[in-house]
Amino acid sequence: MCELLRAVIDCIIPADDYPSASQNRVDVYIERILQNELQEWQDKFQAGLDELEADAKRTTGQGFAALPPQRQNALLAAMEHDAAWSEWFAMLVQLTNEGYYADRSNGGNPDHASWDMIGYEPRLPPGLI
């Protein structure tokens, strides 16, 4: 699950000169929110990852995480446009962005790298975050 999840979220937010989703600990956020407010999504979220992995193996003979980015993106785009999985895909995008752009108390974005990237500063007094 962990390696697969990291590969999937890195398609949603890839690395450039700022961290990818997994480099920004978005997987930690997703696992946490699925154990708390989004418990009812746990099985469905996992089912989408399983489907993606099965697709990868069926079409390439390899696991999703081992594929080159272009193949990964194509498999994800197929999920995005599949009526049965579009809701799952939207949730994947939502959770990845929440982990990436929210404050670090939520588990992702430990150094607030995404805020540096876009130019957001909380400008709070020292000691507060």
Partner: protein, 541 residues
Amino acid sequence: MQSEFDVIVVGAGAGGGVAAGVLAEAGKTVLVLDRGRALGINAVPRDHLRNHRISQYGYNTETPAQLAGRPRVAVNVLGREEVVSPENGGYGYNASVVGGGTLVYGAQAWRFLPDDFRMASRYGVPEGSSLADWPISYEDLEPFYDKVEWEMGVAGSPHVLSGKRERDFPMPPVALNLSGQTLKRGADQLGWPTGPVPLLINTVPYNGRDACIGCGMCVGFSCPTDAKVGSQNTMTPRALKTGRCTLTTGATVASLVTENGKVVGVRYFKDDKEHVARAKTVVLAAAAIETARLLLNSRTDREPNGIGNNSDHVGRHIQGHYYPGAIGLFDDVVQDGVGPGVSISTLKFNHNNPGIVGGGMLANEFVKLPIIFQKNCWQPGVPRWGIEAKRYMRHAYTRAMHVQGPVQEIPSANGRVTVDSSRRDRFGIPVPRLSGTQHESTVDVGQFMQKRAEDWLRASGAKEIWSWAPPLFLSHGQHQAGTTRMSDDPKNGVVDRHCRVHGHDNLFVADGGPHVTNAGLNPVLTILALAWRTAEFIAGN
């Protein structure tokens, strides 16, 4: 606790805090009941996913346990009924905490305009609407706007199109930030008058508290320097300082207690036990939805459909604000991140728009949390994932600007709060049911204002613009108002011109409920001013 108070105030939010402060200082003994907690400024988490701007996972002013077991029923425009929790937009939630919305709001401190008090006379009554004039005028309220501005603290400077003022603001306005400077150039080119957004924020030290430091976490959160002015750091402390005010938190009021039809107190729950508190006078300040619910859940032989409801107006005419808006993308950086973010506004379109009933204000927006920008400010056509999405965030966050404003809603008697006796909260109290919509002409006003927001951005140099206006729906939320309409004739409303419930000499409302109309402006200063006026009336009798 003493057995009888002079006054019980239900709700320690905007109006309740003012009522308690004025009445306690006038020598009355006051009991304030609030179902929330009293939280210090740094006890409100700065969680970007749980606050009063983004709430799908909860709020920062209540624990999950506080939010549990208090559903409402929301009926959408197609008539579909849904049981909703406070995190849901259809619920119309307002912070349940000492200070209420004023602890976590954006603090826009607008006086309503003179024409806002006489909408029916000014425009006629659109067919099917319940548009009406207020029984009082801007001039009646002006001295109390003045009191609130000076006693609590408002920063601003007069707009050319605003009502006459006795004196200036006590504090200078917030400076024009970079987006404000950009919009000023556009407005000048269009010939539109502009002015600062008046704010209940200390721009200089005032009332013993510090000035705003321009942080990027204003609206939705408590102020890190306590510069934001709420009832919790002004009027409620003044009430408590007299020694005559008792503030009881964690207290949920269920109903009014009556004897022979006369109000003698309230029944409430605290620590899962039922209590009764008695008083000579009761002031309801629970916000428009909960105050209506409380009246509807208080039935007597004389008023079998709820106290104050013999003319069937309690809960009707509910209003909030439709918010049309536009986002413009500029070539250059137009955001400097200096909070609160709102700094420029125009009142040009609040009235005098051909073919439109009323109108609304436009202003720039608060500094956006990154995740809010990601959710709400996406340019149509840009992919939502992958490297292009990341580049969009990186490019657009400082180059995009959001202009929006509240539209004056045209009320309808069908947009209303009732109580659903088949559904109860965790105390067994029937829950509010929200149904109907505002009058459909409100949609036209929204679409008109959407175009004006586009005009402003275009003139200011935006290269790409996208915009929206709300479809017909039932709006209420943080600006909720209208459910205990003010009228001289008991047949036409719930409270009289002193915000006293018709037919009761000792029952008052001090929230947005008495607003006959809710202007195209944020309503809090009017709630505060009316509460002050009502409290002085009570103290003088």
